[in-house]
């Protein structure tokens, strides 16, 4: 049996100190396991990235630009309609509020409540 010519190298390119203790070797093994984890994560991640890019490319190739533009137009119309509805709703609420405030019952109620509010401080700062 012959001794290996170089203890510092083997076929895997891993450097091993022949004088290392068991604990040091264990630590070296742990570092290698850790490195293996990182590499496997990279493989996993890169494979996933590649698949995701392929999926996006495929989706991009399938895009019907005209239908997208039509869809944008449709959404634009719906948005405008919604804004009109919102504005109408706001105007309606303002009218209702003004009607209530102009009513006799509001005036009477306000006249009763105002002195109490002045004492308790509630309602301060409100319009």
């Amino acid at each position: 049996m012959t001794e290996p010519a170089d203890h510092d190298a083997n076929v895997l390119g891993i450097r091993v100190d022949p004088d290392a203790s068991i604990d040091e070797l264990r630590e070296r093994c742990a570092e290698l396991i850790h490195e293996q984890l990182r590499l496997r994560d990279q493989i996993s991640g890169l494979t996933a990235e590649r698949d995701e890019l392929a999926r996006r490319m495929e989706a991009a190739a399938d895009v019907d630009h005209w239908s997208l533009i039509t869809r944008i137009d449709e959404l634009e119309v719906r948005l405008r309609q919604a804004n009109h509805l919102l504005a109408d709703e706001k105007a309606q609420r303002n009218r209702e509020r003004d009607e209530v405030k102009a009513s006799n019952s509001w005036r009477i109620g306000n006249a009763i409540v105002r002195p109490v509010s002045a004492i308790t401080g509630r309602g301060r700062g409100r319009a």
């Binding site: 742990a30 570092e31 396991i33 850790h34 293996q36 984890l37 990182r38 590499l39 496997r40 994560d41 990279q42 493989i43 996993s44 991640g45 996933a48 990235e49 995701e52 999926r55 996006r56």
Partner: protein, 518 residues
């Protein structure tokens, strides 16, 4: 597969009020998909009204056939008569007072035409009251075999390939009350593809005393279900037993952890001290103590990966507590939760790996046993737990990934909540689980490359879960593995845009979560 699959709608009938039966039949008659036959199996109803109604209905359409049993045989016998008489490639189960939604059969036809390997499909459902109002929409998950053992969630509308239904022996009257669960367990054991249509295509009628109003109305059905799940576990060679679940209509599958399996609990820590329940504590010490207090499994090691700033007294206390079960691993780099887990893994010796945050406290017995045992199923890649905040509200009931991003199901929910259709009270498949408490096999952790160290703080568990699922394995949420997680509920987590971009670059932007309708 014919270009126009025929569906045999099987409806056992017994003393059904004529008006109700007529509504049920009408819901079939209005289907736009013409390829159906309706098999009404009268289980010798004593009611003359029902008999007269059946005669009238039979004349409505040549696709309607009424089979009249000579003796009353019960639901399974009547259903089997329908199965035997079916001419269609698929059987659709329709109860005598329920309704198919218009378009239901067309959508089922589209699915089976698009994928010829579908042997069983199910849809979402809701309930309908006596006044015709629908409510209680059940948005179901995609096929979830573990959940199906814990709950007959596929229920209505169920469609299976006729030949397969016959091959497995049809309905078994020994399981009456849970005969559908038993049959579908058998069907799904052999089905090539199981498909979920995420649309409400079935209205389940609620009348006082019907199962739709609560499984507790029929305790005999619950026990029949336990027997059905037990038989399934035996057929599929699983080392597990079934029993009643915590809520009516749910079941519990109990698995034993092989005592020979070594479990490594990896806990990254800085030895932080703080208050919990108004008392000071060193979090990592109490985390280890709680695991020991709630675990009988002896073959255990704690791999504590600690920052160099950790007070020596903390390490001493851990040594006193865990003795030779403790492996201390120093970590001298800036904070990186993922790297600390990987460093711990590389030095661990267990067959099963548990990742556990140091700011947790286990509160359920059999902690390691229950968390780890489901990993004996090769199809299960990762398991996770139910986590509570200090105030008892839910911190984690599984992950859900959707258009709104990555989040925790049931975040902030009351501790007594049972979840959407009891999903906080059963084991079930989920898209992901938090790494604050999870278990995986050693082989799989190595295969997927552990945690991505490019994500030191946030979303590393999201990436981890994607990697697990990429291997084709499922992730389970286990409701009865419970912990407190002393993460500040009011803290605004610092989440960076780049972290989300990192995850999306690998896995794309999430759309609808297939396991969580909520």
């Amino acid at each position: 597969m014919s270009a126009s699959p025929l569906f045999s709608v099987v409806t056992p009938v017994y003393n059904t009020p004529p008006a109700v039966l007529r509504e049920t039949v009408d819901s079939v008659l209005v289907q736009g998909w013409a390829g159906w036959e309706l098999l009404l199996v009268d289980d010798r109803s004593p009611s003359a009204e029902t008999a007269a109604a059946l005669e009238e209905i039979e004349a409505l359409d040549p696709r309607i056939r009424v089979l009249r049993r000579e003796t009353n045989g019960g639901i399974s016998a009547a259903s089997n008569d329908g199965l035997a008489a079916a001419r269609g490639e698929f059987v659709v189960l329709l109860d005598h007072d329920d309704l198919l939604v218009p378009g239901a059969l067309a959508k089922a036809a589209r699915a089976v035409l698009d994928d010829e390997t579908i042997d069983y499909l199910y849809t979402d459902e809701d309930k309908i009251d006596e006044d015709g109002y629908t409510f209680d929409v059940f948005q179901k998950p995609d096929w979830s075999p573990e959940r199906f053992r814990w709950q007959m969630y596929t229920c209505h509308m169920s469609v299976f390939r006729t030949e397969l239904g016959r091959e497995v022996g049809g309905f078994d009257s020994a399981f009456d009350g849970a005969q559908d669960h038993d049959l579908i367990l058998k069907v799904t054991e052999r089905a090539r593809t199981i498909h979920h249509i995420p649309e409400v295509l079935y209205h389940w009628r609620t009348v006082p005393g019907s199962t739709a109003t609560g499984a507790d109305a029929k305790p005999y059905a619950w026990d029949a279900g336990v027997r059905a799940v037990s038989a399934h576990l035996e057929r599929t060679g699983q080392r597990a037993t079934a029993e009643r679940g915590t809520l009516p209509g749910t079941y519990a599958v109990r698995r034993e952890l092989d005592p020979a399996l070594r479990v490594s609990v990896i806990i990254p820590t800085r030895g932080t001290a703080g208050d919990a329940f108004g008392k000071p504590r060193v979090f990592v010490v109490e985390a280890v103590r709680a695991v020991l207090d709630h675990t009988a499994h002896e073959n255990l090691e704690f791999v504590v990966v600690y920052d160099e700033t950790t007070p020596p007294a903390v390490l001493d206390e851990l040594g006193d507590l865990a003795g030779d079960k403790l492996l201390l691993v120093p970590y001298a780099k800036p904070f990186n939760f993922s790297e600390k887990c990987n460093v711990g893994f590389a030095r661990s010796t267990g067959d099963r790996i548990v990742l556990l945050n140091d700011d947790t406290e286990v509160i359920s017995d059999g902690f390691i046993e229950r968390l780890v045992a489901p990993l004996d199923d090769d199809g299960v890649g990762l398991t996770g737990a139910l986590l509570y905040f200090e105030d008892g509200t839910v911190q984690h009931g599984g992950h859900r990934y959707g258009v709104a991003g990555y989040g925790h199901s049931y975040f902030g929910e009351h501790s007594e909540s049972t979840g959407h259709f009891n999903e906080l009270s059963i084991y079930r498949e989920v898209t992901g689980v938090t790494a604050a408490c999870s278990a995986i096999t050693r082989e799989l952790y190595a295969e997927i490359g552990g945690m991505w160290e490019g994500l030191p703080g946030n979303y590393n568990d999201v990436d981890y879960c994607y990697k697990v699922r990429q291997t084709g394995r499922r992730i389970l949420f286990l409701h009865d593995v419970r912990l407190f997680h002393f993460e500040s509920k009011t803290r605004v987590p610092t989440v960076h845009a780049w972290e989300m971009e990192f995850v999306e670059r690998r896995w794309g932007r999430p759309t609808d979560d297939v396991y969580s309708g909520r």
